[in-house]
Symmetry: C2
Subunit: 246 residues, 2 copies
């Protein structure tokens, strides 16, 4: 349809990078692009910590569940929801900030995701590869200490960036009519179409792993959602000043 849509449609996560550093002007363009994403009432409730220091990347890699590409990528971004700056603005105006609401938690979490996705697209448009790292939530407190995050800031996800040194397949998504509903949510869609999707995903894994991985989507998902993960989050977030009382 156009080059931008072709770019969006060709996304694959990249987990192996060339050693080449990322030019500073690329980083600048990526950050400026990130900032132009929409933000709820212009609150801009996010920050990015850019990590290039090898020792620190190594620590973050271990804290994220030993994902080696966190250490190996030339630049690692830690995307944080950030209400700290807004508190500073309230302090300037000598008003008391009410920060600990579900609404403010959602606003800051969405804000950082929109900005990060713009960054991802800008990076890919420059020939870089990226992968999001949810594992940054494995040990939130340790990451917070390592990056000296103040109150009202929490790391939502990481992102590795670098020039790709692999060319993986695009992973097939759910059928579009599974995620898109016209006028009303249609609960009757799920079962039959999930079975079709299971077959698509099964073939994708068999193909990608030359027959070694023989699974499908519902198997993967049911495995994943049988156990609660990252159980520290509620307490950690409250310790950081986020709140969920209303």
């Amino acid at each position: 349809m156009n080059d931008t849509i072709n770019l969006l449609k060709s996304h694959r996560s990249i987990r192996k990078y060339k050693s080449d550093p990322i030019p500073q002007e690329y980083v600048d363009e990526i950050l400026t692009s990130a900032q132009m994403a929409s933000s709820s009432s212009h609150v801009q409730a996010y920050s990015v910590i850019g990590v290039m220091d090898q020792e620190k990347k190594k620590k973050l890699s271990i804290l994220s569940g030993n994902q080696t590409y966190v250490a190996d990528c030339p630049l690692f971004f830690v995307w944080c929801a950030d209400l700290y700056r807004l508190k500073a603005a309230c302090d300037m105006e000598q008003t008391e900030m009410i920060s600990g609401t579900m609404e403010n938690f959602i606003v800051s979490t969405v804000d950082v995701a929109l900005a990060a996705q713009n960054a991802a697209i800008a990076a890919e448009s420059l020939g870089l590869g990226i992968v999001y790292i949810g594992g940054i939530r494995n040990q939130s407190k340790e990451v917070t200490e390592l990056l000296q995050l103040p109150e009202l800031v929490y790391p939502v996800f990481g992102m590795c960036l670098g020039f790709p040194d692999q060319d993986p397949m695009v992973r097939p998504r759910l059928q579009t009519n599974m995620i898109y509903h016209q006028e009303n949510y249609n609960t009757s869609k799920t079962t039959n179409e999930l079975m079709d999707y299971n077959q698509i995903i099964n073939e994708y894994y068999l193909d990608r792993t030359k027959g070694k991985v023989d699974t499908n989507w519902s198997k993967q998902m049911s495995n994943k959602f049988q156990t609660a993960s990252r159980n520290h989050l509620r307490k950690y977030l409250e310790d950081q000043g986020f709140g969920f009382s209303e």
Copy 2:
């Protein structure tokens, strides 16, 4: 730098649309682009409700705080975090889903934001304008009933789409070094640079409103964060099956 980055950097929210409908092939491209965004462990924990029905758009417009552009745009998307489909996958595998954790809430909220931002960019690349509607969280329960959302689904934000019938200015963002920290979060950045930013934003408002609006960022933010908003959210989300106990 390239066309995609130029597109990202030229974003402005559009709130006035031509009456022309959006061609179906555009909608298809927007949805396919949305689906290619990254998703945590491939969970794809989101759904979109596309609303074209005039009566329903009118109701959503009222429920979102009387934002007339919700009724006036040719297509309104309601972006939902969605764990319902994952429960269906667990049911298929006869396993019990653990849904009510902070982690699952974050995953689904981030997933829908990444997909929506891809949709926004795809739409803008096709010459459409968009605006996010956080007001969809004003009356979550009523929106949920109107769109027949099942358990484990919540509307995170709306999005108006249409061909632009206005050409607003780009709103200046925070200085990039305010949102970007190298290696560690730098709390010392805030005060002086916020004062500079206040001046930039003050000039932008004076310019955009021909002198009528004379405010700045810290004033706006301190006004906004003095009161808690959308206090129903915690209870509503728990009623929908989301949880925050850990």
